[in-house]
Symmetry: C2
Subunit: 275 residues, 2 copies
């Protein structure tokens, strides 16, 4: 594991690391904020949206002040494998590099796209080994495609991720225009295979988490086509999942929206991970 950078921030340390991943068969880069103090600290995973790397939230997420106060470690992985041999789809921001959709691909040509395995096994083990992390207290949150990632990871692995929240998540990727193509490319044409990576269908199939916080901007241009939080609201109501869905008037899909409500999410996770 190679350190790319490290800087003191809000009394903690913001660092960036690269390692050779066995899950993806590529080098992978991730960012870690370690709060001040000795630890071990609860670990909160932030999963980013389409086109992002580990860096967008590190630059624009404004999570360090509250994370330092609350004693949370924040880990920000990349959104897909990258580099030589990885199908990039440079003309399509919804497929390939920057668009891993947090699945384990089964289709030929997409062997490197094993983000689900990477995030549930390989990277947690690496974090446990190299940082003052309390792996018994992990939470997950994310934005847009990363909100989808957070919801599906928590629903599939509730013993690993004990708290979950999302900013403007894609709640039903199997029917949303901007995700169906990627699911078909990574998992094949049969929509039955997509159910394992669709939050609303995981809930319909019996997966459960206790509580969920979702913020959604009402001025988000993707609200009605790609995001549709009412589908999650309906699924949670049917399954008795305690969803707090906050529609935020005037807010769009950007990091201006995310950073505004970042503190609320960090406090929400801290209450559940440090109790």
């Amino acid at each position: 594991m190679q350190q790319q950078s490290s800087a003191l921030a809000f009394g903690g340390t913001q660092s960036v690391w690269t390692h050779a991943s066995t899950s993806t068969g590529t080098d992978m880069t991730f960012a870690v904020f370690t709060p001040p103090g000795e630890g071990p600290f609860p670990v909160l995973w932030y999963l980013s949206g389409l086109t992002c790397s580990h860096q967008n939230v590190m630059d624009k997420g404004e999570y360090r002040r509250a994370a330092a106060e609350l004693g949370l470690m924040i880990v920000c992985p990349d959104t897909s494998p990258r580099g030589e041999g990885v199908r990039a789809h440079e003309d399509d921001w919804q497929l390939g590099c920057g668009a891993g959709f947090y699945v384990d691909a089964t289709e030929p040509g997409y062997e490197h796209f094993q983000m689900h395995a990477y995030l549930t096994a390989e990277l947690p083990a690496l974090v446990a080994e190299h940082f003052p992390a309390d792996m018994a207290r992990q939470g997950v949150f994310g934005h847009s495609m990363g909100g989808h990632g957070a919801l599906t990871l928590a629903l599939k692995h509730p013993q690993q991720f004990k708290s979950c929240s999302a900013f403007a998540p894609i709640v039903q990727p199997s029917t949303a225009d901007w995700s169906r193509k990627a699911l078909a490319a990574y998992l094949g044409d049969n929509p039955e295979a997509w159910r394992a990576y669709d939050a609303t269908l995981l809930i319909a199939d019996g997966h459960r988490i206790e509580q969920l916080l979702v913020d959604q901007g009402e001025a988000d241009s993707f609200l009605n086509d790609g995001l549709r939080p009412w589908l999650l609201e309906s699924a949670c109501a049917d399954a008795d999942i305690d969803l707090t869905l906050r529609m935020q008037p005037g807010y769009d899909h950007s990091y201006f929206f995310i950073s505004t409500f970042m503190d609320d999410h960090l406090r929400w996770h801290a209450e559940r991970l440090t109790a």
Copy 2:
């Protein structure tokens, strides 16, 4: 004046604007954060460092939460003219585009570099016309080259800028390696012409401000060559200027440093501008 973007953030509005500047003879872009409420609001100018545009602090400065709470308008100009006809010096990050040093150039070839006039007259008039700004309550702060800009603008125009602070400022550009070349290019070879844009020499020449807050990282790689805050400390002591110089152990020159202490600076300005 054309709006490039606008987004709700922390209950206020972060917007970006472009206009044809008569001072520089180019299009100029700047960012404005307007806090929630009716105003008029005190106006705090943030001047950025070498290589930056209006965007770096907008992305990484983390000023919106506190500015919204405190009711401060934050204006973030570019650091130089850009575009057709402007000497860019693409191989030199300390001269030309991104390195305006907040002076009014007098040398042939640098006619567009009129950042001092732009920031003291043209842009304030534009802000006064288009935003709910109380121009009787202006403060100025900045980072590195922009810290130099903040100090020199406040010293030269204490009636305009009623509060001043800086992150890791270049306090004596006339003797620092990374600024002497630019001053010579913009103002000519005679160092006497540089005194009007050198904070320590402006103080020696009788210019005064009452109070000053400066944060400086001790792990800043430019500390001993370019920044040398002890020169400011000495000048302020000689002139009875109330300088609060805070040396911050472990902090570097980056926005991780700036964002950590941003809240302190905003509160410091708010106390002086909203009293």
